[in-house]
Symmetry: C2
Subunit: 184 residues, 2 copies
């Protein structure tokens, strides 16, 4: 199975955005139904319209967030920033221990796509970056940072080269805290 079969796979350039809710299991433990209702309101009123506006070509629910693919890194990062900025407004006045806060991971590369899902190293990387992203902010690969940096008004912080468990290649990570970020 080595070699030639690889050429049968559909590949395309894409930017991958993953988002999930910080401490979603804790929020669900505190109040399952209110957490669900508030999360779904953020999806319906903010995240779904925003991914559509930035022309996401693939969006999947991950239970407490989304996996989305965009044509360009700029589309993905602007979508992410808009969502995080508007979340600050939406959650003003809510008590910190019940507040829904998203963290996001961003990568780009040649991904594998089929009818059901998107796959490959860069999809895995986005999911890992999300886990190290600041609450209310975005973590991205150096490739994304290079592509979008000149177009952003927000500062990108270099977190250096990080090694993730089970990943052979280390990743240089940048983070964007987004204006008005809430405390984690």
């Amino acid at each position: 199975m080595d070699g030639p079969t690889a050429q049968l796979l559909e590949r395309r350039w894409g930017a991958v955005l993953t988002a999930d809710v910080v401490e979603y299991s804790r929020l669900t433990s505190l109040n399952e139904e209110q957490t669900y209702l508030r999360y779904k309101a953020h999806r319906r009123e903010l995240i779904d319209p925003m991914t559509a506006e930035y022309r996401a070509r693939f969006v999947k629910s991950t239970g407490d967030g989304i996996l989305a693919e965009f044509e360009t890194a700029l589309d993905a990062v602007w979508c992410a920033i808009q969502v995080q900025q508007q979340m600050v407004e939406r959650c003003k006045g809510e008590s910190g221990d019940r507040r829904i806060v998203f963290r996001m991971g961003l990568s780009c590369g040649n991904i594998i796509a089929d009818k059901e899902d998107i796959y490959g190293h860069d999809v895995n990387v986005a999911a890992r970056l999300q886990t190290v992203a600041p609450a209310g902010g975005i973590a991205m690969t150096d490739r994304v940072a290079e592509l979008v940096g000149p177009s952003l008004s927000l500062p990108l912080e270099d977190l250096g080269i990080q090694k993730f468990r089970n990943m052979c290649l280390p990743v240089r990570v940048f983070q964007c805290r987004v204006l008005g970020e809430v405390a984690s």
Copy 2:
């Protein structure tokens, strides 16, 4: 938003099965395309037909596995056991460091369902149990174990009460190693 709104939520009794590939990121790092092709073959030839046979009413891709919901805990556990047993046969002779091995988590309860996904504490629990399941085996809640135990020919091992991060309620966990399990 407290109280009455809760009654608007559609709830149903369901058994939740989550499955993912042990060290999927490592396998992808070693060979992205072969890992994808072999994983998809297991899905197409084994997992998708098996979840259909046991009448799963919801199945979602999680990239390296599935989240599925069944009407009864017995349907879910039999589906899981069949998949794990057949995986041993399918992967005979493959070298251990490249072998695709699934681990599975199983819970049941009154879950929240909408058009897109399934939600709630018991869905979160299944996902956590998956992370402590033995490679090639299944971890389940005590509620599942009580419901299916008398019908299984396989022994269930009591792993005791476990506390998962960010979950208020501890979970009593049982595991089923499945006949012919491969080493992790």
